[in-house]
Amino acid sequence: MAIAEVPRFVRADGPDKVTGSGRYAADINLTGQLVAKFRYAGVSHARITKLDTSAASAMPGVFAVLTAADVPDVIYSPVVPDRRLFAKDVVRFEGELVAAVAAVDAATAQAAVDAIVVEYEDLPIVDDLEAAMADGSPLVHQDWESYAVTGDTVQRPNVASFSSIEKGDVDTAMASADHVVTSRYVADGCHALPIEPRAVVAQWEGEKVTIWTSTQVPFDARAGVCETLQMPASKVRVIVPHLGGGFGGKCGFHFEAHVAALAKAARRPVKLVFSRQEEMVAPDRRREGMIVDITSGVKADGTLVARTGWIAIDNGAYTADAAFFPQLAAMHVAGPYAMEAVKVEASLVYTNHQPSGSVRAPTAPQACWALESHTDELAAVVGMDPVEFRRANIVDEGVEGAAGQVYGEIGLRRCLDAAVGASAYGDDLPDDEAVGVAISWWPSFPGPSGAYIKIDSDGSGMIITGAQECGTGSVMTLRMLAAKELGMEPEDFQLVYQDTSAAPYDTGATGSQTLLNNGRAVVEGAREVAAQLRDLAADQLEAAPDDIVLASGKAHVSGSPDKAVSIVELAGIAAEGEMLIGKGSGTPPEYPSVSAMCVGDQGLAGWAGPQFACHAVHVRLDRETGVVRVLDVSAAHDSGTIINPVAAHGQVEGGIMMGVGQALTEGTQYGDDAKQRNTGLLEYKLQTAADAPTIRTEFIEIPDPNAGPYGAKGLAEAPNVPTAAAIANGVAKLVGTPVRQLPMTAERVWMTSEGMSS
């Protein structure tokens, strides 16, 4: 692709970000603004027997105190609506909101929060996934059967959503195997942990409210406000200033309605800024804990014939956006392998933990870690090299996958070859070092998305888009697409974005979908403007519009570069009459059909634009302490055409580092009271620059005709999927057996190596 030859690309928001002039939500302050503070449940499961806000309301400087009684009684959330803005009667996790306060300053607001009287009657805590699924378990939601679930969602007591993928006769196929291997892997939950804690500012003018918020999904946030406060979309405007990262943690609708309701009641602007601890406890977005049981049958020659899987996923107290998790987890335990028969069942289990929700490739890193660890066990039982075992069993062009999708040209085999080839795999290494290999896949997510493109009288371009930039650079990359279509430079385009009242709908910075979907919209909009420019140039140059070429800031006649008129000149002409304005929304790629039977189908068994990857990770183990160090990572990714190489490499490097953290240090610890024990960065350890491995990345570029612009697929989540799995396979070589818990902390690695159960 010519577009990949752009030597460097400085992002449009970059200067704001390196000079400190860029404004994030917490940097917004309005005249008369009050401070919001929340009263949290503080207990994991209890009935509210008394709730008295009178003392708080009477305090000087307190302008509003809200509880469930003060807002519309709406039960919300997509697919499985099961929660309210404030707890009503029962609290189901420690971070559930019971009340909210707006006051003149933080100290007054906190004093008012503390003055709210809440009394509870304890209810039994549900925090063990298997016990929760057993007959007779106490229920997290007594009235679960009354919830207005949508689609084909299947529910059971304490199970918010169940899915299965079944293909072929798994019993017969398993019986034909020469070896049957069964494994159990257990992953702890962990956090998205963007460095920016979220902030929300709301201001009413008459019946309209404007909300500045750190969300990844401004249109979802608007929809949530409209649903819970019962307002039309025309009265709600959501603006996102610069967003300080998300990784899924800021997907969905969170606290925008609470702050808007406070501002309305107080008749003043209200601002909420989360502390790090609140950020780790209160949002219904965290990476889900998971139990994975896998059984696979293989022939003596290494042919995989059958697989069964049983997966329990910690939903936490409310379902947020997690109804599709079982199907995605099932796809990842089935994995990118060909086999005769599959039966994988997955349940999203209610507990009294913080709710789970989409964090960068939800369910995939844990499920991939389990599957790929298991795959190395399979290779060992038939005496094959793990890489050779994968080469013998992976899906490829024309091959039917576990759910019955038949793939077109895909790059999985080339990813495996490239990543392993770039690593020290097979080399003689010191006896405390090893290279582990894992492969992975991840879908692209087609969806509706829109943009306007215009060129002003001075020839400067503007992209007005519903897309949301969360740091990845995908919105920044839209300028490259418009520039390519219009024969201009990326720097010729300004961006207007992250304002629901300015631009058409987009799903937001979620599902790696921005470039895939909004990229199509921008290309379509730019092509409308290009057609206008060609018509204008044809008049000026006395040629046919079809013979006009847009390049280097000019329109010229094909084959006659000197017969040209500048786009600036054409823009000046257009400004006097029919202006240069284009619109695009593109046609979303189609979801392919599948042959598997899917109970509880959420539409994610057939993948458009499937992405593939392989990571080969070189690790070193300190046998005395169990500390694992990641020395280097060789990564190869098939995400289709790469539009912006600098940003693409940044996604892979960041995804890998997040995967290293998930592999080794990041895991939520719970007490017997189902409350989190490590809610600060002192106790919940992220990877630092000192831990950063060398990362080599190769992109296997195969343009996908059923995906994004110029054959691009999604990218931002895929690099997070196989890293922990590859590290695990390296560690297992050194320890002699897999470490069956995630994260593979030094303690767990050491205990496993000593033959002790961790």
């Binding site: 690309f9 928001d13 390196v18 404004r23 917490a26 790090r276 940003a647 940044g650 960041g654």
Partner: protein
């Protein structure tokens, strides 16, 4: 208890009236009115609030503002050299070392302090010099590359 004092931030003297227990980060953001310095954890762990005190990097979330009297405070807004970006800022952009940008101001302050005390840092020294600044987006690779490029540029 409220107290009044003067604070030198980026070479400008600001009169401050604030509670004497108020941290330097809050005084910079709220009293001085410079919001480039960020709060990420209030726990000395993430480094988003890093500023320089007489050239030394300090987590301003955990430093009392009154203690900064008589010292030179440098924030991200004081890094530009007139209208020109500092080489660190430019190299971070050109290397692709900026994504969401929330850690970037603190990262630049730590890197600036590092390069002022060590003109030719080894890669491991850069890693350690930046290990008090958490970045969730980049995996650090392009940030490390930008700091190394800056060391070469400033000292050749």
């Amino acid at each position: 208890m409220t107290t009044s004092y003067e604070l030198d931030v980026n070479g400008v003297t600001y009169p401050v009236t604030a509670d004497q227990g108020k941290n330097l980060l809050s005084v910079i953001r709220e009293n001085v009115g410079l919001t480039g310095t960020k709060e990420g954890c209030d726990d000395c762990e993430c480094g988003a609030c890093m500023v320089l005190l007489d050239g030394q990097p300090v987590n301003s979330c955990s430093y009392l503002a009154v203690q900064a009297q008589g010292r030179q405070v440098t924030t991200i807004e004081g890094v530009m050299e007139g209208p020109e970006m500092h080489a660190l800022q430019r190299n971070l952009l050109e290397a692709g070392g900026v994504q969401c940008g929330f850690c970037t101001p603190g990262m630049i302050m730590s890197a600036k302090a590092l390069l002022e005390r060590d003109e030719h840092p080894e890669l491991d020294a850069v890693r350690i010099g930046l290990s008090g600044n958490l970045c969730r987006c980049t995996g650090y690779a392009k940030i490390l590359a930008a700091v190394e490029a800056t060391a070469v540029e400033l000292n050749t």
